[in-house]
Symmetry: C2
Subunit: 214 residues, 2 copies
DNA sequence: ACCAGATTCTTACAGCGTAAGTTTGTCATG
DNA sequence: CATGACAAACTTACGCTGTAAGAATCTGGT
């Protein structure tokens, strides 16, 4: 009668289900709420049961970023210039990352060398190669663009979090913005109008142009 | 006679000293060894004593990255082209970050908007402006370069860590490298010879070139 | 001499990741 | 049907974490 399961009864746990629950929880309540006990609770299961499907919490977190990278689906293999390919890749990555802002600190501080990610890069390499680029050059560009996207998103995420922590900011920023850094204040004031951050596009296009002039 | 201090005896604690000890400890034993108790122990002091000088552990970590950014000293105001300025800025940042590899995960997942960092950017802005760039453009470029450096370093650090964790890698990578991602394998093989990563320079120069062409 | 404040240490608590062991369900085989 | 092997889930326990609250001690000004 009780809705609680008995001891050996299968609860239908899966690595996938666990990762999914963890991702949802992290997005809903932030990274620091992501404890094994809490995830288990989310699935109606004790913490230790999770260890049947993930080796450790670190492995679980690795799985999370893997999950996220997998979502950065390969653009459906359009036949275009390599510029177009890189642009597509960059924006695809950007889209996925800013769609999961709470996970970003994980993404940027964890090995990006999981099998899934390697496949992603392989696909992109494939595209660039068939678009006429030598392999070595293509990999260089891929690294450059990936690095830039990751960095940009990291800064974005950090800035977003900064606004939500009243504690250490309160005494430092407000009176400093205009007094001690006049140029910065001036530069940011004229910017504030634009839409969904044009800074990304600006830098990306600069890189693409720069790649061109060999 | 005992070398231990009594209760109210001054131990000469300073915010600076604490940050310095924490930084040294983190570099020596990694981020996960960085607990309040451990830091206190390093200074011959109990954990709670630290809270007289830092508000919380988070604040301490913020202080750490601030400390690190401060080390990225402003290049001594050479009068040069804005390209030279940006290059200098980028390599200065890069140098500092890869000099403290264990701290990188902190840097890339924490607000970069501390007063110190703002000053750093202000100085760079100053240089770019006097080099003839409109303020808005200068800030855009600064963001772009900073983002790229951070991203590049994040990937570097993550890759470096990946090699040291035998657990989850063992079954995944080795037989996948060549079988499932042939282009990637091929591309990396021809690269392996070069020195201190040329990928950074390649991308940076591309960006600079891209900035140039209006 | 004495008080006020600063500085440190002590104690305590709730929560963490996870190692080890226990209980229960499932299923192939005799 | 009975039995034993195996897997899934739960329980307990340990040492660690950050930090709130309070007691103890030293120091400098009166």
């Amino acid at each position: 009668m009780s809705s609680k399961r008995a001891r050996g009864q299968n609860a239908g746990l899966t690595r996938q289900a666990i990762l999914q629950a963890a991702l949802a929880l992290a997005e809903r309540e932030g990274l620091k709420a992501l404890s094994m006990r809490r995830i288990g609770q989310e699935l109606g299961v004790e913490a230790m049961s999770l260890y049947q499907h993930v080796a450790s919490k670190d492995a679980l977190l690795d799985g999370l970023v893997e999950q996220l990278f997998t979502q950065a689906a390969p653009p459906p293999a359009v036949a275009a210039s390599w510029q177009e390919c890189l642009r597509e890749y960059a924006y695809s990555l950007l889209r996925v990352l800013i769609a999961h802002p709470n996970i970003i600190p994980l993404v940027v501080s964890r090995p990006a060398i999981t099998p899934q990610n390697l496949h992603l890069m392989e696909d992109a390499l494939q595209m660039l190669h068939t678009a006429g680029l030598p392999l070595e050059r293509a990999l260089d560009m891929l690294y450059a663009v990936t690095g830039f996207v990751v960095g940009h998103v990291a800064i974005l995420a950090a800035g977003g979090r900064a606004r939500h922590t009243p504690a250490n900011r309160m005494q430092a920023i407000p009176d400093l913005d205009l007094r001690e850094t006049p140029l910065l204040a001036e530069a940011t004031r004229t910017r504030r109008s634009s839409g969904t951050d044009p800074r990304f596009g600006f830098a990306l296009e600069a890189m693409l142009r720069g790649f061109d002039t060999r």
